[in-house]
Amino acid sequence: MTALAIKNASVFYPVPGKPPVHALKNINLEIFEKEFVVALGASGCGKSTLLNLIAGFMAPSEGEISLNGRVVTGPGADRSVVFQKHALLPWLNVLDNVAFGLKIQGHNQDKREGIAREFIKLLGLEQFEQSATYELSGGMQQRVGIARALTSDPAILLMDEPLGALDALTRERAQELILKVWRDTGKMVFFITHSVEEALFMGTKLIVMSPRPGRISHVFDLPFSQRYFESGNARAIKASAEFIALREEVLKIIFADEAGAIDE
């Protein structure tokens, strides 16, 4: 069953005296229940614009986005966003940050803290409940962001390069953590990344986007996260011949787009 449907969505900006710039042109994408869709592409291909459309932070110039049959007209609690950075509230401790969405929705303190603690536990943040967010490492801060996004029980999690600011080792561990959270909660995920390896490892479906105009140029179905759940050995999967072959294929597509950008 289709849960999120993007139909013929285009975004363009008017430029005085020139034809309008297409940030996105005729995007068609369906995300089904329990899917983990990863968007990958050269800079300027419109990945973040697409995420903003789904989140409701931006309205499409043409086309429409609907979630479970309801047209998206603005931001809402059925679509939670995990940002790359700067999204936590430094005047609140970890517990209150995780409970922030519940407070907005008007739940009482007992219920807020009960639900928040559940996700704090899921993300392994128990010992940091009372910590200030700015005292946490980047990886821990992202866990807080993910826990907070989950508290409103969204239909889909939108992740805008959530691991982009992390160091390589933390990043690999965070990938595995997010996969486990995804498996345990069964949410749909739309995940943006710059890392081809991360994209291939985490997604069930990969969309490769190309710039000028921003569009989906390739779609791949991915088996690797399922294999990770079976074997539990992330590095072995990332080092397998099949993984490497696909990685190089995708990299070729992206490099061709980047080279096109330089030639223009």
């Binding site: 809402g76 609690a77 509230l89």
Partner: protein, 286 residues
């Protein structure tokens, strides 16, 4: 003599013109690194000593600059006998009340106004011209108008101080609105927040560091305006004390009044900084 002078001058410039060596346990190259407290304490002591020296040696007449002891005596006399029939504590209390009353009023009006101007183009369009118009005008220039419009009682005095505190507070709160990252605002909206919730739970707390800075600047302006406010039809207050003493060339009381104002203002500034550390410990680290 001139040789050594040139040498030390050269040494100073030579120091600026080359890189410093690194020190253990210290991050290299942080501007302004090092402790200045001892130097400040020494400078204060040296200034007072110099003040005492020139007055003690009779280089300056007491009319122009009374000795430190003369100023302390003026304070003791005033504590005992008051000034123009009003006790020292009442002078202090009246002025403090005027400044803090105006300050609190400016906070209550200025902070919401600044936030509204930062959030809303209509509010900005309405209030930007009048505030930018009166802001650079010295309070002394519109003091006569205040008296004509609001009389010679407390109201015109407090309003004069209020206006001088209001502008920096409004500007600070308005600039503070931009402190909230768009990701923080988007996060709130994606939980279904209303605009009012975003203002109250994201924008206002994020603006607090800037608002605290504006409060410190604002209360400074308030004390600056105090003397002007107490120029007309006042019978008590520290500003009034300084002004009337100056008419009778009681320089010791003038200096004493100045020092008392400085001490109160300085103490309050430290109080605000203390509250600031408690309320926004995340300042600069968010």
């Amino acid at each position: 003599m001139s040789d050594t002078h040139t040498n030390s001058g050269n040494a100073f410039w030579a120091g600026l013109m080359k890189a410093k060596p690194a020190k253990p346990g210290e991050i290299y190259g942080v501007p302004g690194q090092g402790d200045s407290l001892k130097i400040s304490a020494f400078v204060i002591a040296a200034l007072i000593f110099f003040w005492w020296l020139v007055t003690y040696a009779g280089l300056i007449k007491p009319l122009f600059l009374p000795s430190p002891m003369g100023v302390i005596n003026a304070l003791l006399t005033m504590l005992r006998e008051g000034f123009t029939g009003v006790s020292f504590w009442e002078h202090t209390w009246v002025s403090t009340l005027r400044v803090f009353g105006a300050f609190l009023l400016a906070c209550v009006i200025g902070i919401p106004l600044g936030i509204a101007m930062g959030m809303n183009p209509i509010a900005r369009g309405i209030f930007d011209p009048p505030i930018e118009f009166y802001r650079p005008i010295p309070p002394l220039a519109y003091l006569p108008l205040m008296i004509i419009w609001f009389g010679i009682d407390e109201l015109s005095k407090v309003l004069l101080i209020f206006l001088s505190v209001l502008a920096p507070l409004v500007l600070g709160a308005r600039a503070g609105v931009r402190s909230a990252a768009i990701e923080q605002i988007h996060a709130a909206y994606s939980f279904g927040a209303t605009r009012w919730q975003v203002i109250r739970m994201v924008v206002l707390p994020a603006a607090m560091p800037e608002i605290f800075t504006a409060m410190r600047v604002g209360i400074g302006f308030g004390w600056t305006t105090l003397v002007a406010a107490e120029m007309v039809a006042a019978t008590s207050g520290l500003g009034y004390t300084v002004l009337s003493a100056s008419r009778f060339l009681q320089t010791d009381i003038v200096i004493m009044g100045i020092v008392v104002i400085a001490i109160i203002a300085y103490a309050f500034d430290h109080l605000v900084r203390f509250v600031e550390r408690r309320v926004v410990p995340w300042k600069g680290r968010g």
